[in-house]
Amino acid sequence: MTRYVMVADINRCVGCQTCTAACKHTNATAPGVQWRKVLDFEVGTYPNVRRAFIPVGCNHCLDAPCADVCPTLATYKRPDGIVSIDYDLCIGCAYCIQACPYQARDRVDIPNKAYGKQFGQMKHEQKVPHSERRAVAQKCTFCVDRIDYGTANGLTPGIDPDATPACANSCIANALIFGDIDDPESNVSQLLRTHEHFQMHEELETGSGFYYLWERK
């Protein structure tokens, strides 16, 4: 079996938002919509305070709350662990947006206009309109077209750039690592063996596909 997951090494992440920007380019998301972003956290009270940067996005859960509430089965789980949305089936009811504990979903009804209505769409916004995503739920896809292209062409997702999500490709700190957790020799499996790690909202038992490394064992 194969299950693709994302691993974020918070010892390496510095919150630069390059992944955020790369995701916006690759997926042409609307202004204000970030399928991948990095949160800026503080823990503690001065002077005993720590600051950390936490990449977030869709966790591609095994038991996905978003899929549970979807009335049209538009949100579904692929055999490789990626949670996808069939935009043709989605009616834009936004139940999934409410249900997602990771706040990873959005709905956008209008074409992208970064500088607002009065200036219209820029050329690159017109070129990649993604009109199939209007008025339906949207979220991180793990750049699924790359995964499918890669597996069809003998490439390894998470290793070969053409088969790897844009955020992991772009990460300047190599803090985002993508791979197959069911392969014990994969990049992500090795990292999870050698590092202490946690998942967000583990208590909700979503079976998240997003792991956070915080130090070497």
Partner: protein, 911 residues
């Protein structure tokens, strides 16, 4: 099998050099001629230290091309009145009209005299910091060289917002315009406010992440918890501007508690530590050769420093005879006087600066200071070696780094000296794992630090100090910031004018100091990739000054606060539309020490928008219309565009009588670059670089360090004692006093053999009280700033996507204040507040954070825009409008620091 990758069919290689942490080699995905996506260039993964990755700023470049706010045609001002509240009434004009108008002005200046009644150049030019503009302005430097002299001294933050003291003293001491740890090998870093995770670019971020992964310990000492502090092992919240005390205490611990563990071989052989200092503060010298003397423990006598087969004494006092050569013709002959080794003087000098003393100054537990000193020493691995390119070198994996406000302004000299001394004491200067330099900008050749190593008569690194002797001192300033007259250390390279004191040029426009020529206004001012009306201090005054300049030409991307006062706007092509070959690799700037060197091409990835023109086309047309085409072409042939087009082993020079098109000029440069890189064997031109994007060859790692060259040439670092600086300072003082000038006296005090400690906080407080007649206790907070990785240097405030992603960093939103302190004052996150300094006031939103000292406030980046589209709606304040330009707060190197005292009051509730 699918044949087309979803990452795109057409990818065009180019580079981003928006900041000095570049260049980042990248690909742009293009769909039907439209640029849609910036991607890493994984072809370059093995030959760039950033592994082909791209900084967040580069992702703004696509919106930069298609931004609806762009200026897309030349414009001229039709409202002769200039001012913030005057509508310039720009109207579109043709390129012919724009360029002819400028050319007429240039020709008039050439005919009537290139300098004005004060002796200053009539033409001035200001460019964005760090030399990054050069990587975008094509052949414009060749044009400027054809119409010299140019006053480049109207800065846009240079000197006060750069690593200014580090630039000057770094070059003086170890050819290090920029100083960095040898991060790939370093195990322990003490970082005083150096926000490397926001300023180090892709290369810096990756290297430091790798270092953390292998267990490097980095201590971040700074008043607020920056991104770098977040990624460090420990944060030490120090009082602003007290870093010198902390560093002096570290040295104290090493000298007075751990002296036996220091690298005495390095101190003896590679530094001035054994040189004997005579009673007047200058070296004791041999009467015949005039060489400085050391005491030889073998022969038990004083001998010239370069005497073979000696064992110089590092410590001790001796009764000896010799001469002492002071400033000008000062000379003392000594018989049997007491002299002291420079190292012994250091030991005595540092005695008072105990951790207990420093702890009180810095508001840091003294036990922390002592522990850090000991950890630093423990990690230094003194005595260990490593092989680099076949040569055995010391391995000293410890370093101290300095950030802005620490390494500039008053205290910058002290911090730079102390940092370098911390390296010297453990033999960690310019060795693997230690503190190294990356860039040369004042010495020559700029292309190779190692080749710039020259032996001075006294056995140290020779330095091109501006003269201070009676005969050669540049008594009459050549440019309005008087750089060569006032600051011997800035030298006389192409960078020297921009090294300032750049605020002096602005300050004098209002009122010059006594016995000094009243500064004139430039008759013609070129501005590119900079916005001094926003990015310097006292922005209101600068804006008013800019409005008085009679003829300003701005290369303009969008309207902004500086070009609001322009007479002509010229829309050049943006980063992804223009053509230029640049030199890359080797060692330079922030963390940029590579295993490769060579060239990269920036090329149009999409059709240029509107009637914008390539910078090289603009430069050639200006040269032709100004009647200086031959001089311009000569400069291009000489290498003004980056590569000499003719050498002994190749010749791609251009016909000097003809105007050449953009592609012809860069094709010649590409061919010359290929020839240079292959020793004349190959000569691929523009087509090759358009396809590949770059061409590299190896760069030997041994050249990351000066050690091999220093050892081979027998050169010493002039540390700890500063005899050269002391002499220069006395001479400069005499020259100024001979002209009745005493307003530079405080700066002269900084020329010392060993730096005297000062109360730097009191210095700021006193200067503000004196100049503004305020009681400083009414302004209870220190205001500091911090680097924004998303914005710094980019000129990208009008890019929506940059604004959007930067908002994920919590400290971008407004005035950052300690949460507990806010609570005490009845303030809460989101409140609207007024921030008032003795100079002026501004307004913004309060952002409460735990990671900042209660006595400190922080404003990130430089905003406060009122003309730049999109950015003018941010409602984010900037410290620049609050910080005055004061001579009292200018140090001897001509530098100031981003630091203010402010008070705040609530003016509205959180929404």
């Amino acid at each position: 099998m699918t044949t087309e990758s979803p990452t795109g069919k057409t990818k065009i290689p180019t580079y981003c050099y928006q900041c000095v942490a570049g260049p980042d080699l990248l690909n742009v995905r293009v769909e039907d001629g439209i640029a849609t996506e910036v991607q890493p260039n994984f072809d370059a993964a093995d030959c760039t230290p950033a592994a082909g990755k791209v900084c967040v700023k580069a992702f703004g470049l696509i919106q930069k091309v298609y931004n609806p706010h762009r200026i897309l045609t030349p414009m001229k001002r039709t409202n002769p009145k200039k001012g913030r509240n005057e509508d310039p009434k720009f109207v579109p004009i043709s390129w012919d009209e724009a360029l002819d108008t400028i050319a007429d002005k240039v020709k008039q200046i050439q005919v009537e005299g290139k300098t004005d009644e004060a002796g200053y150049p009539k033409i001035a030019a200001s460019f964005g910091g760090g030399g990054t503009s050069t990587y975008y302005m094509g052949t414009f430097p060749a044009f400027l060289s054809a119409i010299t002299p140019i006053d480049m001294g109207f800065g846009s933050g240079q000197g006060v917002k750069c690593y200014h003291s580090e630039h000057l003293y770094g070059e003086l001491w170890h050819r290090a315009f920029i100083v960095t740890p040898d991060t790939p090998k370093c195990d322990y870093i003490i970082s005083f406010g150096m926000n490397i995770e926001a300023s180090g670019g892709v290369c810096g971020v990756k290297r430091h992440a790798d270092a953390r992964d292998r267990g490097v310990k980095r201590i971040q000492v700074e008043p607020h918890l920056s991104q770098t502090g977040a990624a460090s092992s420990e944060w030490v919240p120090i009082r602003p501007k007290t870093d010198p005390a902390f560093m002096f205490a570290l040295i104290h611990v090493l000298l007075h508690e751990q002296r036996d563990r220091l690298d005495k071989v390095f101190l003896r052989d590679r530094t001035g530590s054994p040189y004997l200092v005579a009673p007047n503060g200058y070296y004791l010298r041999d009467p015949e050769s005039k060489k400085p003397l050391i005491y030889d423990l073998k022969s038990k006598q004083a001998v010239p420093f370069d005497t073979p087969d000696t064992e110089p004494a590092l410590e001790g006092q001796y009764i000896l005879s010799g001469i002492e050569l002071g400033a000008d013709e000062d000379r003392w002959e000594h018989q049997d006087i007491k002299v002291t080794t420079a190292f012994e003087k250091l030991v005595e000098h540092m005695k008072p600066f105990t951790p207990l003393w420093a702890g009180r100054v810095c508001d840091v537990d003294h036990k922390i200071i002592r522990r850090i000193a000991l950890e630093y020493l423990d990690h230094a691995r003194i005595g260990e070696t490593i092989e680099v390119d076949g040569r055995t070198m010391p391995l000293r994996p410890v370093a101290v780094t300095l950030g802005k406000t620490v390494n500039n302004g008053w205290g910058g000299f002290h911090c730079c000296w102390a940092r370098t001394m911390l390296a010297v004491l453990v033999g960690a200067l310019e060795v693997p794992g230690g503190t190294i330099g990356t860039t040369v900008r004042i010495n020559r050749p700029a292309s190779d630090r190692n080749d710039s190593v020259k032996l001075s008569e006294d056995g140290f690194l020779a330095y091109p100090m501006n003269p201070t002797d009676k005969e050669n001192w540049v008594a009459k300033p050549e440019v309005r910031n008087a750089n060569r007259t006032l600051v011997p250390l800035v030298g006389n390279s192409a960078w020297s004018q921009a090294l300032g004191p750049t605020h002096l040029a602005w300050m004098q426009q209002e009122k010059g100091p006594e016995h000094w020529p009243q500064a004139t206004k430039p008759a013609l001012w070129f501005v590119y990739r900079t916005n001094p009306a926003i990015s310097f201090w006292d922005t209101e005054q600068i804006t008013e000054t800019i409005a008085t300049f009679p003829f300003t030409v701005c290369f303009a991307y969008t309207r902004d606060e500086t070009n609001h006062m322009a007479d002509i706007l010229l829309p050049d092509r943006t980063d992804l539309e223009g053509l230029q070959l640049i030199r890359i690799g080797g060692t330079k700037f922030i963390e940029q020490f590579w295993d490769h060197q060579g060239f990269a091409l920036r090329q149009p990835v999409t059709e240029p928008q509107g009637d914008t023109r390539d910078f090289t086309w603009i430069s050639t047309e200006l040269a032709r219309r100004c009647g200086v085409l031959e001089k311009y072409n000569k400069a291009v042939n000489r290498g003004a565009a980056g590569v000499a087009l003719k050498t002994d082993y190749y010749d791609f020079s251009l016909d000097e009588s003809q105007a050449h098109d953009v592609e012809t000029i860069w094709d010649a440069n590409c061919k010359a670059a290929s020839a240079e890189i292959t020793g004349g064997k190959e000569s691929q031109g523009l087509d090759y670089y358009k396809e590949k994007g770059y061409r590299l060859t190896g760069f030997p790692r041994i050249k990351w360090y000066l050690t091999a060259k220093m050892e081979d040439e027998g050169v010493r670092y002039e540390l700890p004692y500063q005899e050269t600086l002391k002499r220069v300072g006395v001479q400069l003082g005499r020259r100024l006093h001979e002209r009745g000038i005493s307003w530079w006296d405080e700066q002269l005090e900084e020329y010392e053999g060993l730096p005297d400690m000062m109360d730097f906080q009191a210095l700021w407080e006193g200067a503000l009280e004196r100049n503004f007649g305020v009681d400083i206790s009414d302004y209870p907070f220190w205001l500091v700033t911090s680097r924004s990785m998303q914005y710094a240097w980019g000129g990208n405030v009008s890019i929506q996507m940059i604004r959007e992603v930067s908002q994920n960093i919590g400290t971008h939103g407004g005035l950052v204040m300690n949460t507990g302190q806010a609570h005490k004052l009845g303030l809460k996150d989101g409140d609207r507040v007024e921030i008032t300094s003795p100079l002026s006031a501004t307004r913004g939103i309060l952002v409460t954070r735990q990671g900042i000292r209660p006595d400190t406030l922080m404003l990130m980046g430089q905003f406060d825009h009122w003309a730049t589209p999109f950015a003018k709606d941010f409602d984010v304040p900037s410290m620049n409008s609050l910080v005055p330009m004061l001579l009292d707060l200018t140090d001897s190197s001509g530098s100031g620091a981003d630091l203010a005292r402010v008070k705040i009051k609530k003016i509205g509730d959180a929404k």
